[in-house]
Symmetry: C3
Subunit: 267 residues, 3 copies
């Protein structure tokens, strides 16, 4: 089974082309569309999204993940097999696999360089999604062993981010993305929140030089409309939201990846 | 076969997560995406949409329908098996199943409460689509009998709506939704229209205290550009539209569910 | 395998309805969504898009292509089997098949008129996608021979367009569509470009009475941000783009299908 994740949009025929390529190589391949309408050209934001959905797929799933950075430059196409779950990630080595590599461990990592497994076109430029990544996923789904695709690599490129941590009386972590409703996702596990805070605590949120106050709650309706709350999102991380409002706009956030601390307000 | 219908949008990874959960439970499950980009948090509008597409699916289809109301409150997760067509609807009991229940009849109705068939996560909050509804659909597709999921219920919650009816010399019904082109859908069957009106009749449309005149026709091109018409939409219901125009804006509609009457203008 | 291509949008239940119809006729049919969010009511633009993705699908693929013109009028529903690749195209005969017919050759062409293979509904109007095209694709996928669907036709309707050509010292062709980034697609094969031009050449683009200067390059990053370039797009055609900009807006294009010439600037 191939779980397909790109930032190409649902209004592009590129996704369709890649499905055609996969089915040409392996007529029996099963392709599951996961998401194609996500923040474009942003491997870091999408690394967090990949991390949030990957774990709900069955053992042995092949994840075909094509999110490239906007700017050029050379990054290797890779296949990463994980220790836990026996997952295969077919992706550019640009940080996109950072969190799933840390979560599931790297069992084997190869560069995709064996042209035998490329989709050959006599075009002068290359559409890597079609010509390299999709064929690799298709051949993997046919049972071609990972070693066949190219030389083993030592390690993937990791992007830097603030690891979530409990620091005496506060939590630190990072804002990782927001959704279309303006609900703001952090990388801080909900259990860390429950270690330091209890329901209805008033929390000081610090983001760079800005401070906000929010309630530590379970669900939106625990606060009044318009009030800020911190609560566990369904992925198991703390989310900052406004009941019937837009927290991202209220907090005037414009860049993901900023550090955040959460501390109980003493009263 | 699982027909998948939500209001989560095509820009959310939640749909992908649920596919992962389903395939984890039943690797052989076939998932058909029906629609994920529909009016959010509106069980009533989506009840009409569900009713319009369900009947074209084969007998025995499992419909996984996750449209919750915006506000909280407790509604039970249910599985409804229908008398006709042998359909299974896995959905929140919030009115979403009103029209398909009336159309196909309820053969058996259970609350989903047997935690054996939940997708267990140690999260403090619950994403019902992932944790309850998707697993139920997946286990049904594996052949688990409906009785296994929980206790039988007497009846589902129905929302109220104006049943379409022929009243002497006029028709009454409700405006149920509009599409992105501003074509306005009613719940009045086309046959009722043909009982009272004939092609090219001038019709008085009354919606609350507003009145409009339209022609009773077959297709858009039966009227001039800019003219209002009433005609049978492909689902078999009367639609109000403007040839090359936007009827919803012209009629200044802003809420679905308002009553409508249609009467021939005497001349 | 049925590759499904419409202009109905991802926010419409019509795509879902057609999947239901197909699965009702052939439970084993495999449906691959290619694209549903493309320029509406435009068979010509979509003929180019169809041509760009079709070739990457395996031999024997059934392409279900429902793009109708905005205005009414009668066009026949057809099935076209191609000489090369053994493809089947199920589509309205409105020019949509122009380029794939020229690329792969017509082996057999029939009008879909045998009502035995319609999806019968007692509705007074017809939704051809649901009632004629989808059933035809489904029955084809079950092995019904093309001759069964209706009488053979002589030829399809072709739309007119400027065939790409090398004219002494310049190239001529047509602007065929643009994407959401404003990258402008031509129908001129990249090889024609390489015949007349070399990397870094300055090129005069003429579109009607407007002239622009661009560099002939391989990739976006070969020019500075804001500069215009011409380069081979992944489909193998020349694309006009601005590095980190919107070429369509810069060139004030508003209609596809205009002629274009490319000539090296003498210096």
């Amino acid at each position: 089974m191939i779980a397909f994740f790109t930032d190409w949009g649902n209004d592009s025929y590129y996704v369709g082309v890649c499905k055609g390529v996969i089915k040409t190589i392996n007529r029996k391949a099963e392709i599951i569309d996961v998401l194609h309408d996500t923040k474009k050209f942003d491997p870091k934001v999408n690394a967090h999204i990949l991390h949030r959905f990957a774990g709900d797929f069955p053992e042995g799933t092949i994840f075909l993940c094509v999110i490239d950075a906007g700017v050029g430059g050379s990054r290797k196409p890779v296949i990463m097999k994980t220790k836990e779950r026996n997952y295969y990630f077919v992706a550019p080595d640009n940080g996109l696999l950072t969190l799933v590599a840390q979560e599931y461990g790297i069992d084997k990592l190869v560069e995709i360089s064996n042209e035998k497994y490329f989709f050959r076109k006599n075009y002068s430029t290359t559409f890597h999604g079609r010509d390299i990544f999709s064929p690799a996923a298709a051949y993997l789904s046919k049972g071609v062993p990972i070693e066949e695709f190219g030389p083993e690599l030592e390690d993937i490129n990791l992007f830097r981010y603030k690891k979530p941590e409990i620091k005496n009386d506060y939590l630190e972590g990072e804002i990782v993305f927001w959704d279309t409703f303006g609900n703001v996702q952090t990388n801080i596990p909900a259990e860390m929140g429950d270690t330091l805070f209890k329901k209805d605590d008033k929390i000081i949120i610090q983001i760079e030089d800005q401070k906000f106050e929010a309630y530590y709650e379970r669900v939106f309706s625990d606060v009044l409309p318009g009030e800020l709350l911190i609560h566990p999102e369904s992925s198991g991380h703390l989310e900052i939201a406004i009941n019937q409002g837009n927290a991202k706009e209220y907090m005037k956030l414009d860049t993901e990846g900023v550090e955040i601390t959460l501390k109980r307000k003493e009263e």
